[in-house]
Symmetry: C2
């Protein structure tokens, strides 16, 4: 056996433990009888611990040393070189955090998440404050395990490997500064966009049929996925050809199931497109959370809310829900999917305001980590930014600072990946449009294969061989750039809201 | 931390790995997209290996030594003493088998099972013979790892801990020798029992409703189980309060779903009844496969095919399937559930002939392990015994020696546990009837709580604290005894077939 073979065997074991954990978690959210929860938490914790012990082990370090010598002449983006390079990165990170600290974070996260749930239900930030203080203190102890230019860097690195605060900050600030005048223009236009066709009474059985048909028409490998119901939709992979999509059905709003299904299918298509040769290695995943989100958002918004796809879907919507869509033409459906309305809750936000929700969270996270904001002042700071960015008054903390679980989980550094996903989707879309001139006609005919194949060739099949910055450069040329996203948004919503700037843009972009 | 605490922590990890494996396996059979199979096999193998490494480790041996000193004054059936004693047993067994042999068995089992599937489909024993020879040779190498009085002992011990061939053989032979005259009497009676009401067209939706209602009416803890469809029904536990029941639906035969569901629920009730304090220890399981089967058979046959329960179920069957049951009275339904008809396939056998199917397999296994039968002569020997015990001619190997997967899996020693389950069920039933005089009336009213509580108190809650022989003595007094089972069968089927001996028996036994 070569050193690389030995390394692969060790990594396969680590992968199997991680995938088993993913299945136990999927099962917990979709299948498990309620009383299974207590033991399930222990099982998940054991699998995480065993996986981590192996990842951080001296043995793996020795295997990496031996394999490194063996692959030193392999090309940078070859399987062998990427495997050794990326695994070394994981191994070094895993070893920097003392097991005691890791265990303490796991323990406190569970406690804090429960406290958050209660505090949110009671809309009582003060009740949550001590837990937030503990999670923030743990995040500080965690980041101190690493060397950094900016204390936010190690946190960001867990989700966007290699990305620095100094790179991300200007991108997200430029995005914010481009969105604010767009939102102001939309508000000033006085135009009213009617999305009432999306609201009403949509029998869940018909919604389930729609969800299944939508998924079956997407370019997902046959017999390699399933869809289940859950409270908070997600997608997970148990293998390249074993994808689990989840969704929820809201009887009063057809958009919940329709776009959630396409969103999660976007994640699934990405993971389904990874080269099977990467299976059971740490390369068998997405480049980063941002790249993962770029696929869910690209399929959800650029495709799923785009004119060609909606035109294609429209007749079927009419058949399934005649009462809702009989009097709506395709342009009306497209308009309904394009309504901009500032709102308090991030996960209900439209495409324009969504990234402002992220901008305010990112700003507050930076202030916290840079020690410029006392946690007790967080609700005030939150509410001020909501007023500033969205023009809304926050009635209570449940609709404000307590709405997301992320900080309760200690997941500082996670929020920006949502906006990075949108930014990357914008860049990928621009590149795809250049190279696939017939895309609109194809999407209008329900043919999504060519786009999927383009994405598969450029992005999916490579898995996590490259860092996000490397992959952006490889696929889009250059670095993270919010301009394509801003251009797309101004074109689409400028068109819908009759803004002047939109007149000069290509109307077919949406 | 005490030594016992340390031991418990190590055992909890081993348990979590085993339960995770059980969930992955359940998922494979009930939920997994077909293309997930290849990676799933690897994941299952990794979890098995990691679990086994821990179980056979020097570390666990040291923990056991320390804990043994600590519990030396604890009562024999206390949690502490049982934990150390039973874990020591598992540890010693695990260490006797070299890892290479274990790996080879795992590898060959998978190959042999595939070969068996093909050979069975082609009804070609010769094609399967080389694989059977390899699995038999591996079984010999396996049993040579142990000391034994009889070479079959170590094989049996994997399923019935501590049981010896010398104990089991006379029990199963007495059972066989009691069943053969009963079957002959039934045949000689000339009576025809009509079970046509169980065959016809049973819409699957209505069957699913029936299955759910039957399960909900059984004394299973609420929110602690679920039921799914599969090809070969089974039940598995992911935790004491997380039971997975599976079943299949045959549109042409209502019995498949009805009694399979009760059978699997019997397993589930047993595991659901284990003292939650045993969770995440090796004591959190059934005493043996025979004891596990005693519960599935007791609930399936003694209850589910018994007069009181069928009388209770009858009105609902009539509502759901009026075409089938409108003209059948309760006695007719009971008779239909009591038809005896020798057949070639074990899993379709009735209560009387089932144990003759097991008797012939047990005899052949002993001949193989005692080296009294050449494997190439197995079909001939099989067919001769089928003629002898069941009076049938075997038309081809698919309906004969190739029908079961067990030998392909190398699971010699497994078959007798089916009959031991029936024997134990007979003994438990006799004991329960003595102590629960109102049981018939209760079952007739659909009240199964008292019986379940009796079984829970005597058997379920103790998990695997005792060996099978110890538990038989504890609950039934004495040792394994086929007489109660034979008495029950002669009463029930003697009544149905109008045999003379039945007239002197208590007619209410069934």
């Amino acid at each position: 056996m070569s050193a690389l073979d030995d390394l692969r065997a060790a990594l396969a074991e680590i992968s199997d433990l991680g995938r088993a954990r993913a299945l136990l978690s999927w099962d917990e959210w979709t299948q498990m009888p309620p009383r299974g929860a207590a033991v399930r938490a222990e099982q998940l914790s054991t699998l995480s611990r065993l996986r981590h012990e192996r990842l951080a082990s001296d043995d793996l370090g020795r295997l990496l040393d031996r394999a490194r010598a063996e692959v030193k002449d392999a090309p940078y983006d070859s399987f062998e070189a990427s495997l050794v390079r990326m695994t070394t990165r994981h191994w070094e990170k895993a070893r920097r955090v003392p097991p005691e600290l890791r265990a303490e974070i796991t323990r406190q996260t569970s406690i804090s998440e429960h406290a958050w749930e209660e505090a949110r239900d009671a809309s009582d930030f003060r009740a949550f404050l001590p837990y937030l203080e503990r999670m923030t203190a743990l995040a500080r102890r965690y980041l101190e395990c690493f060397e950094f230019d900016h204390p936010y860097d190690p946190l960001l690195d867990d989700y966007e490997p290699g990305m620095k605060t100094a790179e991300v900050r200007p991108v997200l600030e430029a995005l914010r500064d481009g969105l604010r005048p767009l939102l102001a223009d939309i508000a000033a236009s006085g135009a009213e966009v009617d999305n009432s066709c999306l609201y009403g009474d949509f029998p869940v059985d018909a919604q389930k049929r729609l969800a299944r048909e939508v998924l079956e028409a997407l370019p997902l490998q046959e017999d390699a996925w399933r869809v289940d119901e859950t409270v908070h939709p997600f997608a997970t992979g148990i293998g390249v050809s074993d994808l689990r999509i989840t969704t929820r059905f809201d009887r009063a709003y057809i958009g919940a199931a329709l776009w959630a299904v396409i969103h999660e299918a976007g994640h699934a298509m990405y993971h389904n497109g990874i080269d099977p040769a990467l299976e059971r290695t740490p390369l068998c995943g997405s480049v980063s959370l941002g790249f993962d989100e770029s696929q869910s958002r690209l399929w959800e918004n650029w495709i799923g809310r785009g004119r060609p796809y909606l035109a294609h879907l429209h007749p079927r919507l009419r058949e399934l829900f005649p009462g809702q869509f009989a009097d709506v033409d395709t342009e009306g459906l497209y308009q309904a999917a394009s309504r901009v309305q500032p709102s308090l809750i991030r996960i209900e936000a439209d495409e324009v305001t969504y990234n402002l929700h992220i901008a305010l969270r990112f700003e507050l996270e930076l202030q916290i980590i840079e020690d410029r904001l006392a946690l007790s002042d967080l609700p005030e700071a939150w509410n001020a930014l909501v007023g500033d960015y969205l023009g809304l008054e926050v009635p209570d903390d449940a609709h404000g600072v307590l709405q997301d679980i992320h900080w309760a989980s200690g997941s500082f550094g996670y929020f920006p990946t949502y906006s990075l996903g949108n930014v990357i989707a914008g860049q990928l879309w621009e590149a795809a449009r250049m190279e696939l001139p017939d895309m609109d006609a194809q999407l209008g005919a329900g043919e999504m294969g060519p786009l999927r194949d383009w994405l598969g060739e450029r992005l999916y099949r490579h898995g996590a061989k490259l860092l996000p910055a490397e992959m952006v450069d490889r696929v889009c040329g250059g670095s993270l750039d919010p301009a394509p996203l801003l251009g797309y948004l101004r074109d689409r919503f400028g068109g819908v809201y009759g803004l002047e700037a939109a007149e000069t843009a290509t109307p077919s972009v949406s």
